[in-house]
Symmetry: C2
Subunit: 198 residues, 2 copies
Amino acid sequence: MDGTLQERARATRRSLLEAAAGLFAERGYAGTSVNDISARSGRTSGSIYFHYASKEGIALAVVQDRFANWPELAPRYTDEAVPPMDRLVALSYDIAQSLAEDPVTRAGARLWAERDTINVTLPDPFGLWTAAVTRLLAQARVTGDLAAHVRPARAARALVRAFFGLCSLTEAIEGAATVNDRVADWWQLTLPALRVAR
Amino acid sequence: MDGTLQERARATRRSLLEAAAGLFAERGYAGTSVNDISARSGRTSGSIYFHYASKEGIALAVVQDRFANWPELAPRYTDEAVPPMDRLVALSYDIAQSLAEDPVTRAGARLWAERDTINVTLPDPFGLWTAAVTRLLAQARVTGDLAAHVRPARAARALVRAFFGLCSLTEAIEGAATVNDRVADWWQLTLPALRVAR
């Protein structure tokens, strides 16, 4: 393929992925057919099978594109000018917003919740978050901001799971508009145990 | 109906509910048919339709039976001989164990997670937990054990959602055997903000 063809293929894959993500987020995996994706993207179903092989293949691509990888968040949490604990809090609000508003992230979360009904192994989406949080807590230890009894890897595991549960249940019960407030309530209950008292 | 018939009807309803719960917990709502429930319970599908009207009806009954109501937990958290914050922690371990081990509770949690695919409105299962936690925190305020900045209703909402997320994700990622340990890690990160420093 020459450059133009590669670019065109990439644009096609992207438009298929975004159309599928919108449908998965709204209707779930079982409620979305290859024909629906074709209709929404304006591409043929042959194009879907060519680029993603199956409905399972496009679901896997949606989960990997954002929910399990967070490509856009990396710059934010590596900025060493900001204290690590502040970066952790900022990161959580970014993720909460993405879970509430970004269709590809939302679709990834919904597909992961429906994983038992999808005939493909989806990646554990929390490994990467947990590694990132562990790193930030370890940096906070170095800068003297982490309370003595906190063990970074254990704490990160509990924080990530509790945080994701908070965001997804808040959205389910109250809607996306209140997620930010509930995350603030949760940090009030959590930061005192993490921070060294000054 | 005379007494014996009523008792027999109750026993039939119970055995249908437990057979359905076992199947819903293992295979999910879509993966369970009325015929499957009939085969597992050893009752006719006519009996299922007579007692629960539909597969939706029996799913609703499963959610209401335990996951959304916690009938067995009430005595534990009203024992005033135990300090309210200790009751809160004990309650959380009871619920975590029930979510990990009791088939009817597990089925309720799974059906709630799959609620978008079930054609009936399931009750919000967190209202009752949140009210119970609010009451315990308010009692801890009275006994002087609750930190000054904590507002019981707001804190209860965040605690219940974070806790449920922690339990269900831990089970999904690591299996039921580690849930207790992760709840302990989580309380270490949460109790310091709730308790008055002594």
